[in-house]
């Protein structure tokens, strides 16, 4: 890359460097769950994900298979006929990695469409399993509640289950419909377990599984609630999208703080991050109206960026090029990963200068008092993959660089890294 081209990029405000594929991993099956990354042993990251044919993979940061677990359940011939053999063992929820038995290593917890929930040890050996009566498409919440570890997840049999570290049922809660949303914990005056359900209700339970409050939306909720002190005070809020196209912000009593309407279903968890150093949390999420949105904590749009298809994977915020400015990483069903400037960019509505103003329609007073433009999403890089992006995560390598891991529906996992020109 020539000095001239770099200088031109700098002058035009474009970022230097490019996004390159470091490696690709092919599962030879359809990928069904968003990959997750976690520090498995000190300084070493692992990447875990499930496939539609019922395999749970654990890879190291260089895409080498550490182990994989294949779901084996005895199903008689008649039962088999009632199942869709291509998807019956599908793992649709991301696994949860947590040390549930205090052995210093992280176990892998996940459910599948056969209604079974599995706990594997750090080497991929089965520790125990639990049977629900419906598909399990909800990732488990693992939390110490009153000094006892609880593993909490939902099922399409309408129940939210809480198990202990050995897989024994502690309590269960029956909702009005199936539960595919991941539960989240809200630690306030009272610890609450928050989750959504297929008929659009958002539930809050206490730590014994008793209903505290519920809030009704008009569409299925598959997203995990994001919980944070968005106003930078002590109060925590619940941010969750629904298939009724709205993003809801509720207070800890289940009262609506505000909602933001998009033109498409909101399927995944919103990302809460302070992108502009004002200590308050901005809200970044994708919608099936093809847009990635960034909202202020008050619910006004800071910017949006339109992709060519639905944005189903949860976006996240990192500094991919180590320039101390944050970027938003979001995958779309249009097969591309978008890396956007987290703060967006200000776009003038007209060219500055007297001629710019005089050539605008309307009275010049309006132009002088009106905002001279608006913030819009600013694409820094776009990387085209080989299929629909169903999920993404990131790892930090030994050089403290962030590497983006992209899960592609067709069964591939891409590692994208930033490279200086």
């Amino acid at each position: 890359m020539s000095v001239i081209s770099n200088t031109l990029k700098k002058l035009s405000g474009k970022k230097l460097g490019k996004i390159e594929k470091k490696w690709v991993f092919d599962t030879s099956s359809s990928m069904s769950s968003s990959p997750i990354t976690e520090e498995i042993t000190k300084g070493k990251s692992g990447i875990a994900f499930g496939t539609q044919d019922g395999k749970m993979y654990m890879l190291d940061a260089d895409a080498k298979i550490k182990w994989f677990y294949s779901i084996q359940e005895k199903i008689d011939e008649i039962q088999q006929m009632f199942l869709d053999e291509e998807t019956a063992k599908g793992i649709y929820a991301s696994p949860t990695l947590a040390d549930i038995n205090k052995d210093g290593k992280k176990e892998v917890l996940f459910g599948c469409d056969l209604g079974k929930f599995y706990a594997l040890n750090s080497k991929g050996k089965l520790l125990w399993k639990f049977k629900a009566d419906g598909e399990i498409r909800s990732s488990a919440l693992v939390e110490y509640i009153d000094n006892k570890l609880e593993i909490i997840f939902g099922s399409n049999d309408q129940h939210l289950y809480a198990l202990n570290a050995k897989g024994k049922l502690l309590w269960k809660f029956k909702a009005d419909s199936g539960i595919e949303s991941d539960p989240a914990i809200l630690k306030a005056k009272k610890t609450q377990i928050i989750f959504g359900s297929n008929n659009g209700k958002i539930y809050s339970l206490d730590t014994n599984g008793k209903l505290l409050w519920q809030f009704k939306t008009k569409g299925k909720i598959t997203a995990k609630p994001a919980i944070g002190a968005i106003y930078a005070n002590k109060k925590k809020y619940i941010v969750i999208g629904s298939a009724d196209n709205n993003l809801y912000v509720l207070d800890e009593n289940g009262k609506l703080e505000w909602l933001y309407e998009t033109e498409g279903r909101i399927c995944s968890e919103a990302c809460l991050a302070d992108i502009n150093n004002d200590k308050k949390l901005e809200i970044i999420f994708g919608s099936c109206d093809d847009n990635i949105y960034c909202l202020s904590c008050r619910g006004s749009k800071i910017w949006s960026y339109e992709t060519d298809f639905w944005v189903v994977a949860s976006p996240f915020v990192i500094d991919i090029d180590n320039d101390r400015k944050l970027e938003v990483v979001a995958g779309s069903y249009d097969n591309s990963v978008y890396i956007l400037d987290a703060e967006g960019t200000f776009l003038l509505d007209y060219m500055p200068g007297v001629s710019g103003i005089t050539q605008q329609p309307g009275h010049y007073n309006d132009l002088i008092t009106a905002e001279p433009g608006k913030y819009v999403g600013k694409k820094l890089w776009q990387y085209k993959t080989e299929g629909m992006i169903i999920g993404s995560a990131y790892i930090t390598n030994s050089k403290k660089q962030k590497e983006v891991i992209i899960g592609i529906k067709e069964g591939k996992l891409d590692n994208l890294t930033y490279k200086k020109d």
């Binding site: 011939e77 008649i78 006929m81 009632f82 199942l83 869709d84």
Partner: protein, 267 residues
């Protein structure tokens, strides 16, 4: 690969006077709705295709969700079909599907396979799965196995209306889209029997079926001078230059006839 009109292989309806109006028949692998109110011979027209194709050495699957195989075959006998000329296989026990596939494979020529889900539903009552299991998956699994292992070329579902009762159709538009795509992907020439309401206000339950189907054949009963005559018309057929006039439908001498401007019955 996109085939042009002349390259499309066509499947006869075996209705004299109508196939000629359809460039020889329905394009192979297409999904066609057979719509009509009760008594318009929807099942008979569909059965007629499978019977004649079996005589030609090809295999077809007739999935009956409510009428038993026994009742269906008795009706065919009464209409004069010589059932001894073809190989008939009845699936009334899912556990014996492998054996039935073996029967189809070992038979000379084609087979007419009747999957008697009504009987299977009765048998399954009281088992671990119970009658509330996902019957759509059962149908899809039978189709997949028959296509893969027994060279099945045709599929008839009798009826869509019964399927809606047996399977969960909370989001019918999406679910039907995937069913039609499944049928097209598996490349079976398919007839879906749709029970129309008596007021004939729509061809199918959710109406989206009309748009998803490649073809619609409408069967009607019309009263003229206190006589009821049967009529048939092609409402739509993709990739076909067809005559959409209404024809009189008659069954005589063990054969279906469609007559343009058919003679009204004598009073």
């Amino acid at each position: 690969m996109i085939k042009n009109n002349k390259e499309l292989k066509r499947i006869k309806l075996y209705i004299e006077g109508l196939d000629e109006q359809l460039q020889g028949g329905i394009p192979e692998g297409y999904v066609t709705l057979i719509c009509g109110t009760a008594g318009t011979m929807k099942s008979s027209i569909s059965f007629n295709v499978l019977y004649n194709e079996a005589l030609e050495g090809r295999t077809g699957l007739y999935v009956s969700l409510e009428q038993s195989a026994k009742s269906l075959l008795e009706h065919a006998e009464n209409m004069g079909y010589d059932l001894s000329k073809i190989n008939i296989v009845i699936i009334s026990d899912i556990a014996k599907l492998k054996d039935k596939i073996q029967d189809i494979k070992s038979a000379k020529g084609g087979s007419l396979v009747i999957s008697d889900l009504g009987t299977i539903r009765k048998e399954i009552k009281g088992t671990k799965i119970g009658p509330s299991g996902d019957w759509l998956n059962v149908i899809k699994n039978i189709i997949k196995k028959l296509k893969a292992e027994a060279q099945c070329d045709f599929f008839i579902l009798d009826s869509l209306s019964a399927l809606y009762v047996l399977s969960n159709f909370d989001d019918p538009r999406t679910k039907l889209f995937y069913i039609f795509e499944f049928l097209r992907d598996i490349e079976l020439t398919t007839f879906l029997i749709s029970e129309m309401p008596l007021n004939k206000s729509k061809y199918s339950e959710y109406e989206v079926e009309d748009y998803l189907a490649d073809g619609i054949i409408l069967l009607q009963q019309t009263e003229r001078f206190r006589k009821v005559i049967r009529e048939i018309s092609i409402v739509k057929m993709r990739a076909t230059d067809c005559n959409t006039d209404v024809f009189t439908l008659e069954y005589k001498n063990k054969k279906f006839y469609a007559m343009q401007g058919g003679k009204p019955p004598l009073v």
